[in-house]
């Protein structure tokens, strides 16, 4: 060993922590295939269920596959993102975040790693879901630019709920609790225009469906890919995502600080 220094170790070159933590989270995902399988298999099963089993009974005035795929995409994003809550809770619980906190690094970057990995994982899952959708008869009419815009909206939605779930993971006392809280949010797509038109819902539910984030996002994706009327939906979609993201980051920051030294 070299002689002990009397001056503190310097800060790391900019971005070192992020690179290391993103690598860490991505390897983590690749080595826990059950997370990936859940994130992809479940939405695919749901799509097959909705198109082949319920599809005949649900009349939306058109080809149901074309109607339901945007909703399945969103469901898929929600499913994949919720696992970050468990990852974050686990990092808190094992004490690894404490170790990072005692080092001269930006320990917050450990969350950035999880978020980026979640974003990549969910975009891959989304691509698979779209691929399967095309195979079962999804016939989008969007131009390349519209596709790009749709993917942008999907990515923004994934990013905001990933941060939200990361904050939930920080707030939850344990990994078990983290996965429990996660579930609550997964019902949002069902009470929206994702699977059935809002007009078919009971009137009190219509109000809920119209004033929650999933409906404008689904309508935006549907408008971009299927050329249904867009209206103000893209604006609402972006506002919803921005608000969720802002709240989640603020809440996450507070929780991250508060959990220091407590396990």
């Amino acid at each position: 060993m070299t002689a002990l220094s009397t001056t503190p170790r310097p800060r790391l070159p900019f971005g070192t922590e992020e690179v290391q933590f993103i690598k860490r989270s991505i390897i983590f995902t690749l080595r826990t295939p059950e997370v990936m399988v859940m994130a992809i298999a479940l939405p695919v099963m749901l799509m097959l269920l909705f198109t082949f089993v319920f599809g005949g009974a649900i009349d939306s005035g058109g080809d149901y596959v074309n109607y339901v795929v945007p909703g399945i995409i969103l469901l898929c994003a929600g499913f994949g993102a919720s696992s970050i809550a468990v990852d974050v809770a686990k990092d808190l619980h094992t004490g690894i975040i404490e170790r990072f906190r005692t080092m001269r690094i930006r320990s917050w970057a450990v969350l950035t790693g999880h978020v980026v990995s979640s974003l990549v994982r969910n975009l891959v899952a989304t691509a698979v879901v779209i691929g399967v959708a095309l195979a079962v008869g999804f016939r989008p009419v969007g131009s390349p630019t519209e596709w790009l815009a749709a993917i942008g909206v999907i990515a923004l939605w994934i990013l905001s709920i990933t941060y939200l779930y990361a904050a939930i993971g920080l707030a939850a006392g344990s990994e078990g609790a983290a996965s429990g809280y996660g579930f609550a949010l997964l019902f949002l797509p069902y009470i929206s225009s994702a699977f059935v038109p809002v007009s078919t819902l009971p009137s009190w539910l219509q109000w809920v469906a119209q004033h929650q984030p999933v409906t404008p996002i689904v309508e935006t994706i549907r408008g971009l890919l299927m050329h249904t009327p867009l209206g103000n939906e893209p604006l609402y979609a972006v506002i919803w995502c921005a608000v969720i993201l802002l709240i989640a980051v603020a809440w996450g920051t507070i929780m991250f600080r508060r959990k220091a030294g407590r396990r």
């Binding site: 002689a3 002990l4 220094s5 503190p8 390897i27 983590f28 004490g95 170790r99 001269r104 220091a260």
Partner: protein
């Protein structure tokens, strides 16, 4: 000698529970300092404050010359911590854990890998280096956990109950590692529930109970402080039948022997130096607020 750690009148409460009730300790640079005490004595909280995880309510603490409250970032540049739970990534191999931590300690890619290999060898993890930590035994995890804190030399090292859960052989090996660190000049602050561990390793011991230092000094001084030798009566299978502390005088020794004689018990009599257990028992016996329970004492004896 300069002080590596200087703690004055440190207090910390969580809600209404006062965990640290005004602690003062001073650790000389290049020494091993043991915080000894039962569960809930405040050892971990003190380590957490010194390693910048928790802010104290009042009092001051400096580590390697920097104030933990006002210069936490600089303190972090001087320390390494191995906490109580094994803070290692289970889906990564031992080697990968060391490499990543090496990068986070500022080593380049090549340096991080070669330093990782050195530590793998030093901690006897060669066979497991490329296996995922998930498959490691408790002792192997612990060794990896400590190796992660030694990637780059740190002037001050905190070890929170480093040998808890280790088998006797691993414990002895770890003791050697800790002694070697000291000879390299690292200041080590460790916590332990094992009196023997403090006795074996530490240059200086502070016994903590209910958030206060109840006594401190070198192991020898502490043992001397409890007074005299202890008379032991052991049965045919060398089991301990009775223990009578003496005041260290010949008259006291005679009284102890008379007492044994009167009791009519049979066995072999030996006289031994007082152990840290005796110090601990003597000092904690008089604490009225929270008495140590029998299982805790058994725990403490390891």
């Amino acid at each position: 000698m300069t002080r590596a750690i200087d703690v004055r009148e440190l207090r910390k409460s969580f809600g209404r529970t006062e965990v640290l009730a005004g602690i003062d300790i001073a650790v000389e640079a290049g020494t091993i300092f043991a915080l000894l005490g039962p569960n809930g004595a405040g050892k971990t909280t003190l380590i957490n404050i010194l390693s910048t995880l928790v802010k104290p309510d009042s009092g001051t603490a400096t580590v390697a010359g920097f104030d933990v409250a006002t210069q936490p970032d600089l303190v972090r540049g001087m320390i390494a911590l191995t906490g109580q739970s094994a803070a290692v990534d289970e889906v990564f191999t031992g080697e990968e854990n060391l490499r990543m931590m090496g990068r986070l300690f500022g080593l380049g890619r090549v340096a991080a890998a070669s330093r990782g290999r050195e530590l793998i060898a030093q901690f006897g993890l060669e066979d497991a280096a490329r296996k995922r930590v998930k498959t490691y035994s408790g002792g192997m995890r612990r060794r990896l956990d400590i190796a992660l804190s030694l990637i780059v030399p740190s002037p001050v090292l905190f070890l929170d109950e480093p040998t808890t859960g280790l088998d006797p052989r691993s414990r002895l090996e770890l003791w050697d590692v800790i002694r070697a660190l000291k000879s390299d000049g690292t200041t080590v602050l460790l916590t332990t529930q094992y009196l023997e561990e403090a006795d074996q390793l530490a240059d200086h011991i502070a016994m903590i109970n209910e958030g206060r230092v109840i006594v401190e000094g070198s192991p020898a001084a502490l043992k001397a402080a409890t007074g005299g030798e202890v008379v032991e009566l052991r049965g045919p299978d060398d089991e301990l039948v009775r223990e009578i502390p003496t005041d260290g005088t010949i008259a006291g020794l005679r009284r102890a022997l008379d007492e044994l004689d009167d009791s009519g018990e049979r066995g072999s009599v030996t006289v031994r130096k007082p152990s840290l257990d005796d110090v601990f028992l003597t000092l904690t016996a008089g604490t009225p607020v929270r008495e140590l329970t029998a299982p805790e004492l058994i725990d403490a004896k390891g």
